[in-house]
């Protein structure tokens, strides 16, 4: 809508500024990263030709939007492809099957040509070049705007549907480049295509090292293949699924065992090597998400594999059932594998070759035989269906058990399932937390926490903690929870948290498709039912006893819980998630040095990601959506989700992505252009907002879970909280990043990390649910950005608050508040406002309310701990005047000093009438020793819009910390981040224990 217009205009602007946008941009890219381009091309080709893999990536950007629009035409593999790709397909490929053939042939050729293990990858580069040329031509035809725009823009525009296939191709390329650059671990490149691409550019085919890899399949057979040593999990998973001829693969995953009991899921988005470390490359193919209603699976072959898994589960005792159920399920197994009971052929002992139960008795076998006779006439597929109909009712069906202790040290089991978290004590269910009840999931060290929505009549949320055997177990449980929640409750996966944020800990998110998505995709499957042979379960059941390491069944029920699942990003990137990722990246680019290419920046991200790996993790659910779901039927839910995604699509379409260099351009360009540019930024902002949320959540977590520990643990433990209030001209995201980075350096504890999983949900929710704070925030941010778009007349106000708070436990806090203020001329403002209005309207369409406006801007956040003496020093920037005030507080142990450096400008703005508060938002990020709160306030006073950013940095730590340096650093960063703004005020607030030296 309006935004769209903006984007286009921006394009123009870009063209003007940059001149030959396309010419410039593309050549540059090429020159810089020729490999990447190849890879891109490859990618696009892949997407066209075959692999379902590419779809996710490409989809990721457009996914949500286009997906829905996609036509039912898709067939077979093509269903995995995003609509646009699909269309393309239709030109190039006559039939899905042909595709497969092509692919295989292609692969073969490649294999012949080179010894490389990833034939596709090799083959692709060749084609890619050719195609690249073709593409370029196409592109030329395509809108100039789009082409001119950087990838990110292209993405957004493609969303419009103007982009078309050509654009689409580009998009994936861009993404992939970025992703490649990103830290491999953290990146959500799930698709094979991507992975291959990655490898290709880096290594020439000849050099590729391969590893032999074994996968134990559900029927007990082994699948072997050679993998490139740095291959990601997705590559292997795709190979296995291809081998199995399995299309509905999202319910499955690959697992490996650290020891006999520690079952880990192979994360498909990460390198295999890094996950299994020194373990042998042996995996098992298992059901990861047990569909609550197997009858909704599309293909019999999928049900068959589910049956195989369940037979393992039952025979191993992992899935307990009664005598009668054992017999009944066993009889269906016989019917499926042997057909009708034949008195001639099936003598008395034919059954004993099968294993139906952990403890199989003669009596049971007789019962099985008796029941088998009653199934006469059932086809194998029907027998499987009957099997599943009975198995799905078992109370432990699909429940992933984990050993734990409750707060009193009592042994319990935590069961993760489609509906939520179940708490068992000795096989009795003693509590249950449905997903909608859970607000946040986190782990820290070996503790696992859930934050639960207050019950009726209760006012406060409660956090419940469980003790897992060790850190890894806690993390495994957490990941399984994140995955199950995402898979079963969300429309589409969430994107992982941004690397920028200081958050420690895992950025892990479920990257595959959700159940909703996979069902949607499955509906498009249009291939004749594939023939497959039902191998007798005899072998499997027997082998269970021998327990090949691959088979998960080995573990008895008790062991079950122990097999926690580790991160399993087996699935393909979510469309939406990918799109978001792109957006983020785009935003960063802007934020970062304009000169940098996207890839470079990505690299940076990757680094920061690595920092997080082992931290405490929090998965936050935005439960408004969930709550609604409670009372809705599945259909309603789906509709609801669909509508959400629709809204989201609209939103995406309206807001084009920022280009890397935009920031700079904008400065140079006239106002009108800038204004238009702002729309691009909006996307970034959104991303940033999300981060902001994360940060906040983290803070909460810290309060709830960490504080106690910190205080107790070290008498002299130090917490550094840094709060920054920065008004940014270009994007609010920057400040958060910088702050985070600064604080990150100080963070030490790897085991404490925080993680918010539900961004995605939030986004969706946002559109529909006005109450969601996050949504509001985002909106505000967008507004802010629009206003801010006018660079002129902005001052940089950096109030720095340096606070040292000494708690009883000797904790010192250092708070640095940096406020940046920006004033815009009225003209500019008007323009901006116009845009804002438009934006608002868009929002309104999405049913988002701007209720948040009432948030009061808090410019100075001082700690209110027990303070005895308070010294207040205010130094104005120009005059250097100093005010000192002292107030007495009952507690004698602490000393507090506040020093304010203030510039005259600030006074005017601060002292004046409140004006109209357009928006206010607070972003908080926290590391162990540092808390950074960024408060962005946007106001309009008499035609002048003013954006103020306050950063509050609280540093808690030993006296050793050089607070002055920290302060200087904070100010410097603030200035760097917001060159257009002026620092108006710096407040340093110090709280020290009296005994300790006063830093100031």
């Amino acid at each position: 809508m309006t935004t769209e217009v903006g984007s286009e205009t921006e394009v123009k602007k870009d063209s003007e500024q940059l001149g030959p946008d396309k010419g410039k941009d593309k050549p540059e890219e090429v020159s810089e990263t020729p490999e990447n381009q190849k890879s891109r091309e490859t990618f696009s080709e892949e997407a066209q030709d075959s692999s379902p893999v590419p779809a996710p990536t490409s989809q990721s950007s457009l996914s949500s939007q286009k997906k829905e629009k996609s036509s039912p035409e898709r067939k077979g593999i093509s269903r995995f492809l995003p609509p646009w790709l699909k269309k393309q397909k239709s030109y190039t490929l006559a039939e899905p099957k042909d595709e497969t053939k092509k692919r295989t042939t292609e692969e073969e050729q490649v294999a012949q040509e080179s010894e490389c293990q990833t034939p596709e990858g090799v083959a692709q580069p060749k084609k890619s070049l050719k195609e690249a040329a073709a593409e370029n031509q196409h592109n030329a035809k395509a809108d100039d705007k789009e082409e001119k725009h950087s990838v990110s823009i292209a993405e957004t525009q493609s969303a419009k549907e103007d982009g078309k296939e050509i654009e689409v191709e580009k998009v994936p390329e861009g993404k992939e480049e970025k992703q490649e650059e990103k830290d491999k671990r953290e990146t959500k490149e799930v698709q094979t295509a991507e992975i291959k691409r990655e490898n290709i550019p880096q290594k020439s085919p000849k050099k590729i090292k391969t590893v032999q890899c074994k996968v134990v399949l559900l029927d007990g057979t082994e699948f072997s293949c050679d993998l490139e040593k740095r291959a990601k999990g997705q590559v292997l998973f795709d190979k296995v699924c291809e081998h199995l001829n399995l299309l509905e693969k999202d319910y499955f995953g690959l697992s490996f065992y650290e020891n006999s009991e520690q079952k880990n899921w192979l994360d498909s988005s990460k390198e295999i090597k890094r996950q299994i470390r020194s373990l042998p490359w042996i995996f098992t193919f298992n059901v990861k998400f047990y569909p609550p209603d197997p009858s909704q699976l599309t293909e019999d072959i999928t049900r068959y594999f589910l049956c195989l898994q369940l037979r393992q589960d039952i025979a191993s005792g992992r899935l307990p059932c009664s005598f009668v159920t054992h017999a009944l399920l066993g009889s269906y197994t016989l019917q499926a594998e042997l057909g009708d009971h034949d008195p001639e052929e099936h003598r008395s002992d034919y059954i004993s070759e099968f294993q139906f139960a952990p403890n199989q008795t003669q009596e049971m076998e007789e019962k099985v035989a008796e029941l088998h006779k009653t199934h006469r006439g059932l086809t194998p597929a029907q027998a499987d269906s009957q099997f599943l109909e009975n198995a799905k009712r078992l109370s432990m069906y699909g429940v992933d058990l984990h050993h734990a202790k409750d707060s009193e040290g009592v042994d319990i089991m935590l069961g993760v399932c489609a509906n939520g978290l179940l708490i068992y004590k000795d096989r009795l269910r003693i509590n249950r937390f449905a997903w909608p009840k859970i607000l946040k999931i986190s782990y820290k060290r070996s503790n696992f926490y859930i934050k639960v929505r207050p019950a009726e009549l209760e006012q406060f949320e409660s956090t419940i903690g469980f003790k897992l055997p060790n850190h890894r177990a806690a993390k495994r449980l957490w990941k399984v929870c994140v995955e199950h929640h995402t898979f079963f409750r969300l429309v589409s996966p969430e994107q992982p948290p941004k690397a920028k944020f200081l958050t420690l800990g895992s950025k892990f998110r479920y990257s595959g498709r959700t159940q909703a998505q996979t069902r949607q995709a499955s509906n498009l499957i249009d291939r004749p039912a594939p023939y497959f042979e039902r191998t007798s379960s005899k072998r499997v059941s027997r082998s269970l006893d021998g327990a090949p390491m691959g088979i998960s069944d080995q573990n008895l029920l008790r062991d079950f819980p122990a097999t926690a699942r580790q991160a399993a990003g087996d699935k393909i990137l979510d469309l939406d998630a990918a799109g978001q990722a792109k957006l983020k990246e785009g935003g960063r680019e802007e934020d970062g040095s304009p000169v940098k290419t996207p890839q470079l920046e990505l690299t940076q991200d990757g680094k920061s990601n690595s920092l997080r790996v082992d931290g405490e993790n929090i998965y936050v659910r935005h439960s408004n959506l969930m709550l609604e779901d409670l009372d809705k039927t599945q259909d309603d839910l789906l509709k609801h989700q669909a509508s959400i995604s629709e809204l989201k699509r609209n939103f995406m379409e309206s807001t084009p992505e920022p280009r890397p260099n935009e920031w700079e351009k904008r400065r140079i360009t006239p106002l009108s252009l800038q204004t238009q540019g702002s729309s691009h930024e909006t996307l970034d902002i959104v991303e940033e907002k999300k981060q902001a949320e994360v940060g906040i959540e983290e803070t909460l977590v810290v309060d709830e879970t960490n504080k106690g520990k910190m205080q107790v643990a070290t008498g002299a433990g130090e917490t550094c909280k840094v709060e920054e209030h920065l008004s940014k001209k270009d994007s609010s995201s920057l400040p958060s990043d910088s702050s985070s980075s600064s604080s990150s350096s100080e963070s030490e504890d790897e085991e404490v990390g925080e993680y918010q999983p539900h961004h995605r949900a939030t986004e969706e929710v946002i559109r529909e649910e006005p109450e969601d704070d996050d949504v509001k925030r985002k909106e505000h941010e967008e507004k802010i950005q629009h206003v801010e778009a006018t660079p002129e007349g902005s001052k940089l106000n950096v109030p720095v608050e340096h606070t040292q708070v000494t708690a009883e436990d000797l904790v010192q806090e250092n708070a640095v508040t940096i406020a940046t203020e920006e004033k815009n001329l009225s003209e500019e403002i008007k323009q901006d406002l116009g845009e804002e209005k438009e934006e608002e309207q868009l929002r309104l369409n999405g049913d988002v309310s701007h209720v948040d406006i009432d948030v009061a801007p808090q410019i100075i956040c001082c700690s209110e701990p027990p303070v005895v003496k308070t010294e207040m020093i205010t130094i104005s920037d120009a005059t250097q005047r100093t005010e000192i005030s002292t107030k007495e507080v009952p507690i004698v142990q602490t000393e507090t000093k506040t020093i304010t450096y203030e510039s005259p400008q600030f006074d005017s703005s601060a002292g004046g009438n409140a004006g109209v508060l357009l928006s206010a938002q607070t972003i908080t990020s926290e590391s162990i020793s540092t808390t950074t709160t960024t408060h962005i306030t946007k106001m309009v006073k008499g035609g002048v819009s003013e954006t103020r950013i306050e950063k509050r940095i609280v540093i808690t730590g030993d006296a050793d910390i050089d607070h002055d340096e920290a302060l200087a650093q904070a100010i410097k960063e603030a200035k760097e981040q917001h060159p257009d703004m002026s620092v108006t005020r710096v407040v340093v607030h110090k709280e020290t224990e009296l005994a300790e030296e006063d830093e100031e």
């Binding site: 307990p320 009664s322 005598f323 009668v324 009712r393 109370s395 000795d426 009795l428 269910r429 249950r432």
Partner: protein
Amino acid sequence: RQALRSAAGPEVDFARAEREHQLYVGVLRGKLGLQVLELPADESLPDCVFVEDAAVVCEETALLTRPGAPSRRKEVEAMKRALESLNLNIVEMVDENAALDGGDVLFTGREFFVGLSRRTNQRGAEILADTFKDYAVSTVPVHDALHLKSFCSMAGPNLIAIGSSEAAQKALKTMQQMSDHRYDKLTVPDDAAANCIYLNIPSKGHVLLHRAPEEYPESAKVFEKLKDHMLIPIANTELEKVDGALTCCSVLINKSSEL
């Protein structure tokens, strides 16, 4: 000997109690056409009329309980003999630390809820869970009532009848939270009236035995709103004085007996 009772109260009119019980049996046997296997009365076991507590039967399996009241443990023997005659898979609760009264076991058709009361403990519930492995077994703390089913019961395939007392409502909330399934609820003003007997009889459809309007007029009105049910009011005034409810006096077994 006197039956156990939770509170002192008026004397039980034995003659009337017998009449009521005969009516109860008559309805099941005569009106509904069920096969009724009556256990012989044992004068040494004053609570033996409450057969529900001695066994939990689900599908083909019967769990012989270990009643929480020591004086009632012998009641199980007669029950065992009867169930053996029905060819059920019988599981005995031999653990001396276990206690379970059938009155604390609510089977909804999808899962079990076991009230943790003065008569039933965790161990008893565990054994029940081990016995009926197909089903989820959730525990529900029971306060201010003898049994879980003192204030609730199933009144339909997916319908829980529940009393209005605080204890009842609290227990219901617990059950709702614990279950993946959403049940309908039928709230009646009187806790005691919430204990009713629901049967699904092929020839008769939904049948509900509930307390008579003379006893609990308000609750009876609620039951009368169940249009799809064949409603049969039954008085239970005398046994109620010794904490007896409608379900207490029978164990329903879905099996055609060869007797």
